[in-house]
Amino acid sequence: MQTPVTANTAVSVPRRQKPLWRRFLAQWQVQLMIFPALIFIFIFNYIPMYGVLMAFQDYSLFKGFFGSTWAGFKHFEMFFNSPDFFRVIRNTIVISLLKLVINFPAPILLALMLNEVRNLAFKKIIQTISYLPHFLSWVIVSGFTISILSVDNGSLNISLQALGLIDKPINFLSLPEYFWGIIVTTNLWKEIGFATIVYLAAIAGVNPSLYEAASIDGASKFKQIFLITLPSITPVIIIFLILNIGSLLNAGFDDLLLLGRSAMLRDVAEVIDTYAYRIGIINNRFSYAAAVGLFKAVISVGLLTMANFLARRAGTSLW
């Protein structure tokens, strides 16, 4: 394919471009629209990235970042050898996996059910109700949880007692064995509805003739769900699953902080993020907490890169 190329260059006489800085000045208005945001990003995202080097220092508030002495990997070693390490990693992974195993498939099931509803007004009402908790703050949601699970006349204790299942009210919120269940259920309550939106959109894109053909062949609705709807939305499910795995170390923050703050629950409630917060900002051990945060960030970047790579191979990516 040599000839067309040479022919083209012969026709189009290369125009001399103005120098870069002249062109840059000529488009100063566009550049001016971009720059404020770049400065914001530089200050609030890049400086903290650089600041994370304090994990290798003995940072002191009085000496500041440039005055503090370097400490090498001391804080990392301290974290790896501390008794907190195992507990915090275990909680992060367990809570994250529980959320993945239960709260990831639940909205898919709900979307499949909503899709079978023929009464559109009813469907609309259920959707409106189930999306609502997504927009409430975790403070409110934790308030609901605390109120309902309260040992002091909480609705759950009242109901269980009325049904004769328990004799004495249970203090659900301060017993470690209930904590993971409470976190998973609360998250489910908050997000199950809203998470159906994407799946419902995917289901809406399924070719209707597939269902017609299936019902002519005598396939029951139940069969159609599993043989048509579910396989049709599998690509979407896979993408979301991959992205979820990419954020495996994000076990949650607000929910764990608000419902698991009591010291009695620390053994089951504290994850990497809430641990870094407690050690760093409440106890002022900045360098140690920054090391904990950096440890998590490094693994997270690895997971996210891997997830994005997988998603790209599966046909789409995060950007």
Binding site: I41, Y50, V52, T128, F144, D152, S262, V301, T305
Partner: protein, 300 residues
């Protein structure tokens, strides 16, 4: 189309399940509202579930006469307004700049922005940075650090790039400047995406309690969510204390229980006040939220 008996069973099960889910979603709201309308001392006797037993507006009267709560409500409104306007403005002009053809350095700017979605310094350096910048104990710490959202920028940019090129070119021929094109042509055309992203940003600002928890010590600057969280925290502590003190004398126990339950009614009333703005606007803006999620996931 006639349904087979198996399909009918399935339908019945689905309707039953969905009704149950709807009730389970609404119950916490309902129960909290009921407690907030019930006399605190009566609530302490227990058994309040679906209906107030001793109806009263006293809890709300106390809440609305409490200066701290009123101030916190005002701070929340202010921060939501300021935070949304500032964030949407800077993010939108940023996105537009990056959507214009032939911008020098565009690729670099994009990478510069997108890297922040992968890497972050984490909470501690971010916290110390804001301290160094003197943002501690200021209203602006709730507004400035989150002013640019890369995620929203990408959504805005995708939308701007989808606008027909002809619009901008004809405006350019008419001699319009880049600013002119953006504010007079592109901005007015961005209604849906603008509404969607503004709503998400506003909800974030209304609901965020953590920023003020770590950056603000001055209780006068607390937004409603942070104040509410502190009230709830002290309630839980007093409740746990009263449980722990059981057996240390029936009288003191009954007293502390009574206090904790009375404050429970007040907490519920405050919670309702903090929730109402969301519940009120929600039905009107629901379609925007749905649209927003779908725009976002198209990007994914």
């Amino acid at each position: 189309m006639k349904l087979s008996s198996g399909d009918k069973t399935l339908q019945t099960f689905i309707y039953f399940f969905l009704v149950l889910l709807g009730l389970a979603t609404l119950y916490p709201f309902w129960n909290s509202a009921v407690i907030s309308f019930n006399l605190g001392l009566d609530t302490a006797k227990g058994g309040i579930t679906f209906w107030p037993r001793a109806f009263t507006l006293d809890n709300y009267k106390i809440v609305f006469q409490n200066d701290r709560i009123i101030d916190a409500f005002a701070i929340s409104l202010l921060r939501t307004a300021a935070g949304t306007v500032i964030s949407i403005f800077f993010t939108a002009i940023f996105a537009y700049g990056l959507s214009v053809k032939g911008v020098i350095g565009k690729k670099f700017y994009m990478i510069f922005a997108i890297i922040t979605m992968y890497f972050s310094g984490g909470l501690i350096p971010f916290y110390l940075l804001n301290r160094e910048l003197g943002l501690m104990d200021t209203f602006w710490v709730m507004v400035i650090p989150t002013a640019v959202s890369v995620w929203n920028m990408i959504i805005f940019r995708t939308f701007f790039m989808g606008l027909p090129d002809g619009l901008e070119e004809s405006a350019k021929i008419d001699g319009a400047s880049t600013f002119g094109i953006f504010f007079k042509i592109v901005f007015p055309l961005s209604g849906p995406v603008l509404a969607t992203l503004s709503l998400f940003t506003a909800v974030y600002h209304w609901n965020d309690w953590f920023t003020a928890t770590i950056f603000i010590n001055d209780a006068k600057l607390y937004p409603i969510q942070t104040l509410l969280q502190q009230i709830m925290n002290s309630n839980t502590m007093s409740e746990q204390l009263s449980i722990a003190s059981q057996g240390s004398g029936a009288a003191t126990d009954a007293l502390s229980r009574m206090q904790s339950v009375t404050s429970k009614s007040l907490t519920m009333a405050t919670m309702m006040v903090a929730t109402i703005p969301i519940v009120l606007v929600y039905p009107f803006v629901q379609r925007f939220f749905v649209k927003g999620v779908l725009i976002g996931s198209l990007k994914e």
